[in-house]
């Protein structure tokens, strides 16, 4: 009979599913990574806490008899009111960006797509910059994120209608509208910053654009957390149609998917998630581009397996990146977007070279 299987070079089977680590093991390892990153993230800071104490405080808060309070109330305040909300938000943002990146790459059927590509984050930047430059403060701490979200939403609507013509949404048009909208909105944000003439405003705007989670309070955590949790759940339910998108437009239609309607709905969902995330974190690049790749290498392209894994990996990665951003040049804090770009850029190039070597 045929000799197809035996005559192949061994590299094919080595790179295939057989050589992969079992899925549950990957998930368990990622869960451990998230826990470790979060523990370290809570322990490290201007006041350094022992890891055991971090867990004792958390357990005590969860259920008082679990741990005897041997720490000062100040330390508990630091953990519960300063570090935990920040770490939580970090995890939510990292998970959200990664999940959105994976869904978006399926949506435009291009593994090089990034959440920042849709123009949504540039819209958020314009919203945030307007608030900073014109000193708007209508509703206190919520003003900035709300304005950023409004900007993101307007960009979403704009890109959506630019990309959709005659009930059809093609991937090329989506990417082009996203990129063009992003360029125009970045220009608007840049103009506003340059003409503000106030170096302090310029600095805060620049910091916002490079991303950061300093000064996170509990109030700011809930909405993005709910959005990411809910959105990820919906995407998990949609993972079969997401898989079909990888097969191509015609094939997906032949397999029962209403491609154009699904793309439109998926774009709206992902853009809303991104808008909610960027509104609290600023634009953090490369997370949504890089981590879906790593996960596909680990567990394959099936979204049913990929989405949970990428959410965990994203959370662990961003918590670790935030930790690095806080501790590299203490007491200064580097914007986290700089760190993710510094690691993401080389990764991207490596990926490209690896692809070329195939």
């Amino acid at each position: 009979m045929t000799k197809i299987a035996t005559s192949r070079p061994p590299v094919v089977t080595a790179a295939g599913g057989r050589g992969r680590v079992p899925y549950t093991l990957v998930l368990a390892a990622l869960a451990v990574a998230v826990t470790m990153a979060a523990t370290a993230g809570i322990a490290v800071g201007s006041v350094r806490l022992p890891l055991g104490e971090v867990w004792a405080i958390l357990l005590h808060r969860l259920y008082a008899p679990l741990a005897e309070p041997t720490w000062t109330p100040v330390r508990e305040t630091i953990v519960m009111d300063v570090r935990v909300p920040r770490i939580l938000l970090c995890g939510v943002v990292g998970a959200g960006l990664s999940v959105c990146g994976m869904a978006l790459q399926a949506l435009v059927r291009n593994p090089l797509a990034d959440p920042m590509l849709l123009g949504v984050s540039s819209g958020a930047t314009v919203g945030a910059v307007v608030v900073m430059v014109f000193n708007v403060s209508l509703i206190g701490a919520f003003t900035l994120p709300l304005a950023a979200f409004a900007g993101a939403f307007l960009a979403l609507v704009l890109v959506y209608f630019l990309a959709r013509a005659g009930g059809r949404m093609t991937t090329v048009r989506l990417v082009l509208s996203g990129v063009a909208t992003a360029e125009v909105l970045s220009a608007v944000a840049g103009y506003l910053i340059i003409t503000s003439g106030d170096p302090r405003k310029t600095e805060s705007a620049l910091r916002w654009m490079l991303g950061g989670l300093a000064g996170t309070t509990w109030d700011l955590v809930w909405i993005p957390a709910a959005a990411v949790l809910l959105g990820t759940g919906v995407l998990l339910g949609l993972s079969r149609p997401l898989n079909l998108l990888l097969a191509g437009e015609e094939a997906a239609a032949a397999l029962g998917l209403n491609v154009h309607r699904f793309r439109g709905a998926l774009f709206a969902l992902v853009a809303l998630m991104i808008g909610t995330i960027v509104a609290v974190s600023g634009s953090i690049g490369f997370v949504g581009l890089m981590l879906p790749h790593v996960v596909r290498l680990l567990v394959g392209a099936d979204h049913r397996r990929g989405l949970p894994a990428v959410a965990l990996l994203g959370a662990a990665f961003l918590v670790a990146a935030d930790l690095a951003a806080r501790s590299v040049i203490t007491p200064e804090e580097i914007p986290i977007g700089i760190l993710t770009a510094l690691t993401g850029g080389p990764f991207f190039l490596w990926l490209m070279r690896r692809g070329a070597a195939r």
């Binding site: 035996t6 599913g17 998990l236 339910g237 079909l244 990888l246 397999l255």
Partner: protein
């Protein structure tokens, strides 16, 4: 697991597709009986693929309608149609790290609800389909790195995994070597499904199909049993080639030899 639907009657009623004022398909009517295998042949740009696209809901006809057992395919949901009609297309997934198994397993999607996992039955069907197409050994190989013929066979396996009673195949023998060309068409016959197959190879069409429909410039210009349709006159008119047609000495199937000279 839903039982596979039986072979259906596939009908096109005066189907027309006009894009930007150009009629790619014009007034095509065609009925395929349950279990019948019909070849769709014609020169490049004759409208074969366009017509097929209206069958599997990738392109809505601008006039006329396509029905499956009397039901308009454009009035049912895509999912419902995909459980009754499978398509083998030219389009192949790329770039992502999909394995051959992943690609073939997409064929199970129309039978699944959201959040419903694959059970052992699904895996058996998918592996069975890959085995039928002689590519089970490549199940865990990256789809991207398969040869053209292997990819084509995985795509046929995907359609097979849909377990439908009707199939539409757009150049399924593309990239396949001689043996696998025969295997693929023999398979379609053996399945007993209603099938419409776009083919370039007229000899294959004559050998494997009950009827041959010839398209030219968007119209259906001839339809009937191979021996009636495939004539030197028709080949001269539609393909503009000089050919000799005669029954094969052993099988009796019409056989076409294209002559190298220019048609005068």
């Amino acid at each position: 697991m839903t039982a596979a639907d039986g072979p259906a009657v596939l009908r096109a009623d005066n189907v027309g597709v006009v894009v930007d004022g150009r009629a790619l398909v014009w007034n095509v009517s065609l009925e395929v009986a349950p279990g019948e295998v019909v070849a769709l042949v014609g020169p490049n740009g004759a409208g074969k693929s366009t017509l097929l696209r209206t069958f599997y809901r990738a392109l809505r006809p601008t006039s006329g309608r396509v029905t499956l057992d009397g039901e308009d395919v454009w009035r049912m949901t895509g999912r419902r149609l995909a459980r009754r009609l499978a398509a083998v297309l030219q389009e192949a997934p790329g770039e992502f790290e999909l394995t051959a198994y992943d690609v073939a397993a997409m064929g199970r999607t129309p039978c699944k609800r959201a959040f419903q996992g694959d059970d052992s039955e699904d895996r058996r069907i998918v592996m069975g389909a890959l085995g039928t197409l002689d590519v089970a050994g490549l199940a865990h190989a990256p789809f991207d790195r398969l040869s053209g013929g292997e990819k084509q066979r995985v795509l046929i396996a995907r359609a097979l995994a849909q377990r439908t009673g009707t199939m539409v195949l757009d150049e399924p023998t593309n990239h396949l070597d001689l043996r696998h060309q025969l295997d693929a068409l023999r398979l379609v016959r053996r399945l007993g499904v209603t099938a419409v197959v776009a083919l370039h190879d007229l000899n294959l069409a004559a050998a494997f199909c009950d009827r041959i429909c010839v398209m030219d410039a968007g119209r259906l210009v001839a339809a009937g049993p191979p021996a009636q349709v495939l004539t030197a006159d028709l080949l001269a008119e539609v393909y503009r080639v000089d050919a000799e047609v005669g029954p094969h000495p052993h099988t009796g199937v019409p056989q076409i030899s294209v002559l190298p000279g220019d048609l005068t």
